[in-house]
């Protein structure tokens, strides 16, 4: 992300302390993570110590300090999903991709995350991939659902690695 792109974001929200969250969120949305360079630049521009920016970036779940995969899988672990077997769905996804929540596959295709509640409780267990909701999930549906998001279907096995 170039400095001028960050400047545009800062301009939109204003050069004030209360805008930090909004600025970081916009950078996160664009880049899918907060790079050290971006944080340093924002700190310089807003005259906010880097430590404070890191404090915010590590406190909130919305931010990542690591590059993310092309597709973000978000498994809802809310209570309604939990009592309907969300843990088993998550286990199956972990097994399928070989990564744990918070991690990204080596081919940068998937990042796996859990969320406390997506607010789609009636359809639980719910998994959201790139914001698209998949309701009434079960371990047996995992493979088929993930398949839609492999870049190259022939390369399924490689993608899992």
């Amino acid at each position: 992300m170039t400095h001028s792109e960050i400047d545009t974001i800062i301009e939109r929200h204003g050069k004030k302390e209360s805008a930090i969250l909004a600025i970081l969120q916009d950078i996160q949305t664009r880049e899918k993570y907060l790079s050290k360079e971006a944080l340093e630049y924002v700190g310089e521009k807003l005259r906010i110590p880097l430590t404070k920016l890191y404090r915010i970036a590590t406190f909130f779940r919305a931010f990542s300090l690591m590059p993310r995969g092309r597709h973000e899988i978000c498994v809802c672990m809310g209570t309604a999903c939990h009592v309907r077997g969300a843990q088993r769905v998550l286990d199956q996804i972990q097994l399928e991709l070989g990564i744990r929540p918070g991690e990204t596959t080596k081919d940068l295709n998937f990042t796996l995350e859990t969320v406390n509640c997506l607010g789609v409780c009636a359809a639980g267990p719910v998994v959201a991939i790139d914001g698209q909701y998949f309701g009434k999930m079960s371990p047996t549906k995992v493979e088929g659902t993930l398949k839609r998001f492999y870049e190259n279907r022939k390369g399924d096995k490689d993608a899992k690695a």
Binding site: K16, E17, S18, A19, I20, L21, A22, Q25, R55, I56, F59, F60, R61, A62, F63, M77, G78, T79, A80, H82, V83, R84, R88, D91, Q92, L95, V115, N116, C117, L118, G119, V120, C121, A122, A123, G124, V126, G131, Y133, F134, G135, S138, P139, T140
Partner: protein
């Protein structure tokens, strides 16, 4: 599709102009006109409503005989279990579980000819009778939808729709025929209590804020709905954002605030879009901004996005977050109404509370306080989810019993299973057993039995839910979400989680139960905010009502609900096994061996190697002959 003549949006500068504009909108609407509403709530989205909407658009565009038919994508109707939902007005024909391929016949048969498609109607689970309209479906019958009712009828992206159902009338009444003190008096008379969890009387909060010293004051709408299993605030903000906004403007006028903030949860992108759009539209019409409707009152609302922290919904943490800091709570002896956002007097209420305000102003506190119980007035929206037939959002008068909600509205427990408990109040709440099903639901009763109202999540659990696992689940949640400021909460939740893990994995001891109670007590007593203060509730309430389940785990190393994986054993019953090989294919660790039976060859019944089995349950899921037994 007929698109109504575009009415030019211009700033309205008096109540008369607003009324004139409303009449103009109404005059363009023909009550006999066919309106197809498709529920666009998140539940229906997960069920594929966007494809249904596209199919309707296509059919309406292609058809030549579509005069006067309009399509409206609305907010959540509530009956998420049966989505995607389609209601055809003015006859209010209610179609459920609609698929895109049903759309052409809905158009040609129902809309053009008036014939009913029986298979899309809701079937009464007991009598088998097909029910034609939404209001006759048992799920809706016992509800009282004074806050949530318009959700299913208006397009949340159009302020005209809100005006057409009488929107902003309460604002006019408040601004032009009531003094701020009278508004507060009305809210007090209604005894409106905060719907976000605490249940603090809103009128008293407003009054203290009005009296607080300082000329700059703020109002905040807490839309950081973090309780897992609750999504009514999301649905209100997505489906009827103007009702929340109208409540905030009235509140700001009563308190004397000129600026307001809506703090929207990170996970709710559509709610964010819709409230932002609503703010723009309200500004465009002069319902926000300088000199609203020429009343001399200035007020504007801004958006603040949450960062995805559960504790961010705690009032003092939320205020810190708006100001650009991490969302950490502070000591409660300084009230927000005296020193809140940027140390100014601040009134914070949640989405549902604000949405109640226009109704109270319009119909009066006396009318409102007729609904409900002694200490809890009005209605409450609950999200009825988990192991219940009719999942969805229900709005009921306070004082209704749990049994009525779960059985009459919710239709009971699926698959003929037995009810075990209902969890209310999110991670701060507790589990209520069957013996208390006739409890009237209100703020005080729920607290008495060791749970709480919270924001209105109601998660039904059946015999296949393990209560120790539920307690562990909440403690895992709380230990992750504890901000770490108070040692008692940070360490207490962690240690309780460790003890519960020990129990669910078969290493528990009886003395752990006393230790859990003691830890719970310390965590609650020594923590600053409500997160720590109520953190032990899930453990204490399950210990209170389901102690024998804990003991079963500890003494007999058995999980009666068959949930705790370490205590389970999977076995294939050779006499039932058809040797289809499905389980072996599904097994991720190749723990299942045997030989598939084919036409040519005899098979060998499959069996599970316990050493290799990771107890993922895939074989159990995949077996179609119930040949796999869980012990």
């Amino acid at each position: 599709m007929r698109i109504g003549r575009e009415i030019k949006m211009q700033r309205l500068s008096s109540p008369q102009e607003l009324e004139k504009y409303r009449q103009e909108i109404l005059s363009q609407r023909n009550l006999n006109q066919t309106i197809v509403t498709v529920c666009g709530g998140t539940g229906c989205h997960a069920a594929g409503c966007h494809a249904v909407v596209d199919a309707f658009k296509k059919v309406l565009q292609e058809s030549v005989k579509n005069n006067g038919i309009s399509l409206r994508v609305t907010g959540c109707h509530g009956f998420c279990e049966r989505g995607p939902l389609v209601v055809i007005h003015p006859k209010e024909i209610f179609y459920q579980r609609v698929k895109p391929e049903d759309v052409p016949s809905i158009f040609s048969e129902t809309i053009l000819k008036g014939n009913i498609l029986e298979h899309l109607l809701y079937e009464h689970p007991v009598t088998g009778e097909r029910i034609l309209t939404e209001k006759d479906v048992p799920f809706y019958k016992k509800q009282m939808r004074i806050i949530f009712g318009n959700n299913g009828f208006i397009d949340p992206t159009k302020i005209e729709d809100y005006l057409a159902v009488g929107g902003y009338q309460a604002l006019v009444k408040a601004l032009f025929s009531m003094r701020p003190e009278e508004i507060i008096q009305e809210v007090k008379k209604a005894n409106l209590r905060g719907r976000g969890g605490g249940g603090f009387p809103a009128g008293i909060k407003w009054e203290s804020c009005r009296r607080a010293k300082g000329d700059i004051k703020y109002v905040i709408c807490n839309a950081d709905e973090g309780d897992p299993g609750a999504y009514m605030d999301r649905s209100l903000l997505e489906g009827n954002p103007h009702s929340v906004l109208e409540g905030m403007i009235i509140g700001a006028f009563a308190i004397g605030a000129k600026e307001g903030y809506v703090y929207v949860r990170h996970e709710y992108p559509l709610a964010l879009t819709n409230i932002m759009m609503a703010i723009e539209q309200a500004r465009g019409l002069g319902l926000l901004g300088k000199n609203i409707l020429n009343s001399g009152f200035d007020f504007d609302v801004f958006i603040s996005r949450g960062g995805g922290a559960f504790v961010g919904g705690e009032s003092s943490a939320l205020v810190a977050s708006i100001a650009g800091d991490v969302a950490e709570p502070r000591a409660k002896h300084i009230h927000l109404v005296e020193s809140g956002l940027w140390n100014r007097p601040t009134t914070l209420n949640n989405v549902e509370t604000w949405a109640n305000v226009p109704v109270i102003i319009l119909k009066g506190g006396d009318w409102y306080s007729q609904i409900g119980t002694e200490g809890s007035k009005g209605t409450k929206i609950f999200s009825l989810v988990g192991k219940v037939n009719n999942t969805g959002l229900v709005e009921v008068p306070m004082g209704i019993t749990l049994r009525e909600i779960i059985y009459d509205i919710g239709g009971g427990i699926p698959e003929g299973k037995k009810f075990k408990a209902v969890q209310t109040g999110g991670p701060s709440g507790g589990c209520i057993p069957e013996s208390l099903l006739d409890l009237p639901v209100d703020f005080d009763r729920l607290t008495e039995v060791g749970s709480m109202m919270g924001s209105g999540g109601m998660i039904v659990m059946d015999e296949s839910t393990c209560m120790v696992d539920v307690a562990k689940y909440f403690m895992n949640f709380l230990k992750d979400e504890s901000c770490g400021k108070c040692t008692s909460c940070r360490e207490g939740t962690k240690r309780m989680h460790e003890l519960l893990t020990e129990i669910t994995e078969g290493r528990g001891k009886l003395e752990y139960l006393d230790l859990l109670e003691e830890l719970g007590w310390v965590t609650a007593e020594a923590s600053l905010c409500a997160l720590g203060g109520t953190a032990p509730n899930p453990v204490l309430s399950t210990l209170r009502y389901f102690r024998e389940e804990y003991e079963e785990h500890i003494l007999h190393k058995r999980c009666p609900a068959k949930v705790c994986r370490s205590l389970l054993k999977y076995r294939i019953l050779p006499e039932v096994c058809t040797m289809c090989g499905r389980c072996a294919k599904a097994c991720p660790t190749d723990a299942i061996t045997g030989k598939r039976k084919t036409k040519k060859e005899e098979g060998i019944p499959f069996r599970i190697d316990e050493e290799k089995c990771i107890k993922c349950g895939m074989c159990f899921e995949s077996c179609k002959f119930n040949a796999i037994e869980v012990q």
